[in-house]
């Protein structure tokens, strides 16, 4: 068996709640995630379910409350976050954030935005080598060289997205985490960026964790999809299977909610209400209970765990 690119076990992040002594917000709760070399895994779920927190945990931008992360076999959680920043593993995992306007320093020219991580993470100081690496990254993402001396505000949304990606791949990561990389873009620009990402993965052999709320987008790039609900993974399945035969009632509602002109007049099941509070959730109640169309007595007595539904397919529901 190959070493997975990424293997997270029991990953948990709880935040103390201001003003309520002893109360904890369960942002990410006991998540297991494995990503193979070259694999692209999608991560979906409604806002607030913990996608960005999980992304930040994996990139070691924040410390987990519990759990371990192995990257190419190295335990990155053995180091404190401060020590990890200086470790060689830091360059292997890179994050591309949703809004490049926020993640790019407005007072840095494109050149500096891309070269900065190369110096910081790979220790490259030589101006000639730096120049080559910046230009190689810019070429890879199709960023015209004349834009390299510009500031972010002088770029279009699509160009800024390219800079965000160039900056991440310049340090040759083995895993790229993309947190809603196209949700601020118009569809025509999104199309270019999605094709670019597909092409880069093929050429550079990176693995992706692709976070998005748009299932039509996730489908295009990912071979396997992880569905989260209120901090927990509720279903993992190969892409086509997740769309055609979702097993968890939340996934079923999610898939049914995708707008689709081909199903204009079909009545589809709808999900009412809003999720329960992520603060001090009852460990013996399913997180989806109260909103779930099935919701039986058993669901309030015993929290469901992930069970095998078939090849490579798991779901956490008593009735799945």
């Amino acid at each position: 068996m190959n070493t997975p690119r990424l293997e997270a076990r029991h990953l948990t992040k709880r935040y103390p709640v201001g003003g309520r002594k002893g109360s904890l917000l369960h942002a990410v709760d006991d998540v297991d995630l494995v990503i193979q070399p070259g694999e692209c895994v999608g991560l979906v779920g409604e806002s607030g379910c913990g996608k960005s927190t999980l992304a930040r945990l994996l990139a070691r931008l924040i410390d987990p409350s519990e759990g371990t992360i192995h990257l190419d076999g190295h335990d990155t959680t053995a180091l404190s976050q401060a020590a990890f920043v200086k470790s060689p593993d830091r360059a292997r995992i890179q994050v591309v954030f949703q809004d490049p306007t926020e993640s790019l320093n407005p007072s840095f020219r494109v050149y500096r935005s891309i070269s900065d991580p190369i110096t910081r993470l790979l220790g490259v100081e030589d101006t000639g080598e730096l120049f080559d690496r910046v230009h190689r990254a810019a070429d890879l993402v199709g960023l015209p060289r004349e834009l390299i001396q510009r500031y972010p505000h002088q770029l279009s949304g699509g160009q800024r997205a390219r800079v965000g990606i160039a900056r991440a791949i310049a340090v040759e990561p083995s895993l790229l985490i993309l947190d809603e990389p196209t949700s601020a873009l118009d569809v025509s620009v999104q199309a270019v960026i999605l094709r670019l990402l597909a092409d880069l993965r093929e050429r550079l052999g990176m693995s992706y964790l692709f976070v998005s709320h748009d299932l039509n987008v996730v489908r295009l790039l990912c071979t396997r999809i992880v569905v989260m609900y209120l901090g927990r993974v509720v279903e993992v399945a190969p892409t086509e299977q997740l769309f055609t035969a979702p097993r968890h009632p939340y996934t079923q509602a999610l898939v049914a909610a995708i707008p689709d002109p081909a199903r204009r007049d079909e009545q589809r099941p709808r999900l009412d209400g809003s999720p329960r509070s992520p603060i001090d959730p009852d460990p013996n109640t399913c997180r989806f209970h109260g909103r779930c169309p099935i919701g039986a007595e058993r669901c309030t007595q015993e929290a469901p765990v992930l069970r095998t539904m078939g090849d490579d397919h798991v779901a956490a529901c008593h009735f799945a």
Partner: protein, 320 residues
């Protein structure tokens, strides 16, 4: 048969320090009773400007160069301010993209709905209270009695949006103008809200102008769709017809760049170039610089409409 809302050959510019922005040129659109009409296009194409103009709401910098807007026979561009205000509140309702800024942060949401009803209906006392609860439960807000007592900050973004919609629908408006009403909401919530809008148009003959950048959403819910590009409506058709037989090259490209549940990454096409700068001299067809079908005739004014099928018109010299 006359339409409830008729925008006729509307041209509107913004006079700014940096020049004249030709935001709308010769825009015509009608919405019949009970009809849902979608307006789609990239950001900056003039969708919001048109929506506000339809309500007789314009920025101080705006100047109408020509055209008319008729709402139930009322001339919205020349009506007295008090007549306009009364019409807007009672017969036309608008939903904006960011509900939090549209709600009063220091007033309970139930009171805000009551305010609207007090102004425009004869409900008082217990009957008024009942109407408020009814308005909240219609948008499927769970536990409406308790939610009525909440302040906006105590509710999630999705809940606030539903309160906004409850408020907009409370007086049973004849026309709903919804500008990106579900952008930023989870797809499951989006589906519930859009189902409700559709139900209102079927049961109460409410007319809806749905502005969205999401062709999939427009494709599922609208009866007709107008495609906007750089301040022009370039094509208008019944939804099924538009999606099956787009006649304008821009519409075809917009469709090809929008992921659907059946798209593959190889199908995904982007639109070359970008929207022209609306402050510069513009050609007769504002898409010409991006268009692969462009011929010299395209530059001759005026650019005529061609009817390619019943109810299906396109503003292109070389339609598909």
């Amino acid at each position: 048969m006359s339409a409830l809302l008729a925008i006729e050959e509307l041209s509107l510019v913004f006079r700014t320090r940096h020049g004249t922005v030709r935001a709308l040129e010769d825009v015509s659109l009608t919405v019949d009773r009970g009809e849902i009409v979608g307006v789609v296009g990239e950001s900056g194409s003039g969708k919001s400007v048109m929506a506000y103009a339809a309500l007789g709401l314009q920025d101080a910098a705006a100047q109408v160069l020509g055209g008319r807007i008729l709402f139930g026979g009322l001339d919205m561009l020349n009506a007295a301010p008090d007549v306009l205000a009364a019409t807007r509140g009672r017969e036309v309702a608008m939903i904006f993209q960011s509900p939090r800024t549209a709600l009063n942060p220091i007033r309970k949401v139930g009171q805000q709905i009551a305010d609207v009803l007090l102004e425009h209906t004869t409900f008082r006392g217990a009957a008024l209270r009942a109407q408020v609860i009814e308005a909240l439960s219609r948008v499927r807000i769970p536990d409406p009695e308790r939610r009525a007592e909440a302040y906006p900050f105590e509710l999630s973004g999705g809940m606030c949006q539903r309160v906004m919609i409850a408020m907009a629908l409370a007086c049973s408006p004849a026309l709903l103008i919804a500008d990106e009403p579900t952008t930023g909401l989870d797809v499951t919530t989006q589906a519930v809200i859009m189902d409700l809008v559709r139900e209102m148009s079927r049961t109460s003959r409410m007319s809806t102008l749905l502005i969205t950048h999401d062709l999939g959403l427009a494709g599922e819910y609208c009866d007709r769709i107008a495609v906007m590009h750089a301040g022009h409506i370039v094509e208008i058709a019944p939804t099924v017809e538009l999606l099956a037989r787009p006649a304008h090259p821009y519409t075809r490209q917009l469709l090809a760049s929008t992921p659907t549940p059946r798209t593959t990454i190889a199908d995904l096409v982007s639109i070359p170039g970008q929207l022209p700068d609306l402050r510069q001299e513009l050609p007769a067809c504002r898409f010409s610089a991006r268009c692969e079908r462009h011929i010299p005739l395209c530059d001759e004014r005026p650019l005529p409409w061609t009817v390619v099928a019943p109810g299906h018109a396109v503003r292109c010299r070389v339609p598909l």
